[in-house]
Symmetry: C2
Subunit: 308 residues, 2 copies
C-alpha cells in the first residue's frame, strides 16, 4: 500500500491512498465511462461505482467490467464514496455540486472533468468545509460521445489539468494526482482563470472557427450544392470540431463567454489581416504571413510528442 | 486495346487511347510523383516519363519504378509526349504553358493538376490550335509534400475535376477521363470559374481559417507559453492546413484572390454572429447555432462515403 504525506491543514481525505478509495463516477458518458474503465483495469482503487440517469448505461458499464456496481440514486452513490468524479456537462456539474454537500463523507475528494473551471470552482467554494475540492480537465476527447465511444486508453499520455482551491489540502491534491497518473495521464496544476483563458484559445476558439466554416460552406451550398463533392480532407479536418455534442459545447461556451470573446476578437483581427492582404494583392505580405504560420505549425507539431 | 470515339471537331489527339500514349509528368513532387506511380503500376499507358529540376528526383523516381525514364530538359520531355501533365505550383504551371507551345506534338493532350483553374485555363487558351487543353484538379492531398511523400494510392477514390476549354475535342476529354480513372479517381467535369468559387469555400477558406487560428494562438503564447501544453487533438486538426507548403499556397491564394475574398467576408460575418451571440449572452440563439451546425456536419460526414 502507498502511504501519502499528511496534510498540514487539518482535514484528511477519508481514504488517504487511492488503493483504499471507493471512487464514484457520476455520469457514464465518454469521459466518465473511460475513466471508470481505466481505473478498474489498473486495479488502483478499492472500488469503482457508477452513478447514471439510465439503467441501460449501468448495465452496459457492468457488462464491460468498467464498474463494480452502479446506481441511479445520486445520494446513495455519493454518500459511500471517498472520491467523487463529476463527469457530466459543465452546467450539470455546477448543479450537482449544489446538491451533494449534505451527503458527503468527511474528507471526501470532490473532482470533476468539466472543460471550463472558473464557474465550477466558484461552486465548489460552497461545498462543506470537510470536503476536499479539486477541479479537473483532461485535454483529450473524441469526435463521438456517449458510453459507446468510451475506452480505457482515452487518457493515456494526455495532459490532465488540476485546479485546487486555496483551501484544498496537499493530501487531497496528492490523491488527485495519483488518480490522474493511474489512468495514464499527466497532471498539470493550474489556476482556474488561467486554464479558462488558455483553453479559450486552443479549444473553444477552434470549435467556433470550425462552426463558422461549416455555416459558411452551408451558405455556399444553398447556391451550388456541388460544393460538398469538392470537400476533401482539408475541409473534413478543419470542420471536425463543429460536430461536437452541442449540449456539452453550449455549457462550455456559456461558462467561458468572456475569455472566448477575447480570443474571438483577436481571431477576427487575423481574418481582417487576410482580407486586407488579399484586397491590396500584397503578395510579399501574404507570403510572409503564410511562411510564418506554416513554419510555426510545423515546429509545434514536431516538438510536441504528446499531441493527441 | 481500347478504341475511342472519333472527335467531331477535326483535331485528333496524337494517341487516341491511353494504352498507346506516352505520358510526360512535369514536376515530380507529391502530386506528380503519385500520378506517375499510379500510372506505372496499372500499366495503362505506353510509357511514363518524368521531367524534374533535380537529378535526385529523377533518380528516386526511377529507383522506385515510378517512371520509365526522366529528363531535366523540358523541351525533350514535352516534345516526345502524347499527354503532358503539369504538376508544379500554379504560377509555374502558367509560366510553363507559355513556354511549351512550340514543342508540342500535334493533338497532344495538355493537362495540369493546379488547385485553381481560371487563370490556368486562360493561359491554355494561348496554346497552339493543334494542342488539346484540359485543366485538372484532384481533390486530395497530404500534410507532407515532395516526392518522399508520394504514393501510388493517393488518387484512389478522390474526385478529380476536369475543366476543358470550349475548343477541347470530346476525344481529348475522353482520354483525360480515362487517365483519371486509370489512377483510381472519379472525373467530374466543371467550368473553371465554378470550380474556383467552390474550392475557395471548401479548400482555400479552411486554409485561411487554420492560419488565422495558429496566428491567434501564437499571440496568446507570447503572453503565456503554457498554451501549447493544453493544445489537444481539436487544435491539431483545426490548424492542420496551416502547415501546408507556403509556396504552393501563395500561388493558389494569388490566383484565386477574388473568390477567396468573397468567402472570407462571409466567414467574418459568421464570426461576428458568434461574437454578437456571446456578447448578448443569448443562450437560445447560441444553442440554435450550435445544434444546426453540429447536425449539418454530422449529416455531411455520414452521407459522403468518399471523404478523404
Amino acid at each position: 500500500m502507498m502511504t501519502m504525506p499528511m496534510t498540514e491543514h487539518g482535514t484528511t481525505p477519508s481514504a488517504t491512498s487511492l488503493s483504499q478509495s471507493r471512487v464514484a463516477v457520476v455520469g457514464l458518458g465518454l469521459m466518465g465511462g473511460s475513466l471508470a474503465a481505466a481505473l478498474r483495469r489498473t486495479h488502483r482503487c478499492a472500488e469503482v461505482l457508477g452513478v447514471a440517469r439510465s439503467e441501460g448505461s449501468i448495465r452496459t458499464a457492468l457488462q464491460r467490467g468498467w464498474i463494480d456496481w452502479g446506481t441511479l440514486d445520486l445520494q446513495q452513490g455519493v454518500s459511500e464514496a471517498d472520491i467523487i468524479i463529476l463527469a457530466t456537462p459543465v452546467r450539470t456539474i455546477i448543479r450537482l455540486i449544489g446538491q451533494i454537500g449534505p451527503w458527503l463523507k468527511r474528507g471526501c475528494l470532490v473532482m470533476d472533468m468539466g472543460s471550463t473551471k472558473r464557474r465550477i470552482m466558484s461552486a465548489m467554494e460552497g461545498l462543506p468545509a470537510a470536503a476536499e475540492p479539486v477541479g479537473g480537465h483532461p485535454m483529450c476527447g473524441k469526435e463521438s460521445s456517449g458510453l459507446e465511444a468510451a475506452e480505457a486508453n482515452l487518457y493515456q499520455g494526455a495532459v490532465f489539468v488540476l485546479t485546487p482551491l486555496a483551501r484544498t489540502s496537499s493530501v487531497a491534491l496528492g490523491l488527485a494526482r495519483h488518480l490522474v497518473q493511474a489512468v495514464g495521464a499527466r497532471p498539470l496544476v493550474l489556476e482556474a482563470a488561467r486554464h479558462d483563458r488558455l483553453v479559450a484559445a486552443v479549444s473553444h476558439l477552434p470549435y467556433c472557427a470550425a462552426s463558422a466554416l461549416v455555416a459558411t460552406a452551408e451558405g455556399i451550398a444553398a447556391e451550388d450544392e456541388l460544393v460538398w463533392e469538392l470537400a476533401a480532407s482539408g475541409f473534413r479536418d478543419t470542420s471536425r470540431l463543429a460536430a461536437s455534442d452541442s449540449d456539452m459545447m453550449r455549457d462550455i461556451v456559456l461558462t467561458n463567454a468572456e475569455a472566448i470573446l477575447q480570443v474571438l476578437h483577436r481571431y477576427r483581427g487575423q481574418i481582417d489581416r487576410w482580407i486586407a492582404a488579399l484586397e491590396t494583392e500584397d503578395s510579399s505580405r501574404l507570403e510572409a504571413m503564410m511562411q510564418e504560420v506554416s513554419s510555426r505549425r510545423r515546429a509545434l507539431y514536431r516538438s510536441h510528442r504528446h499531441w493527441r
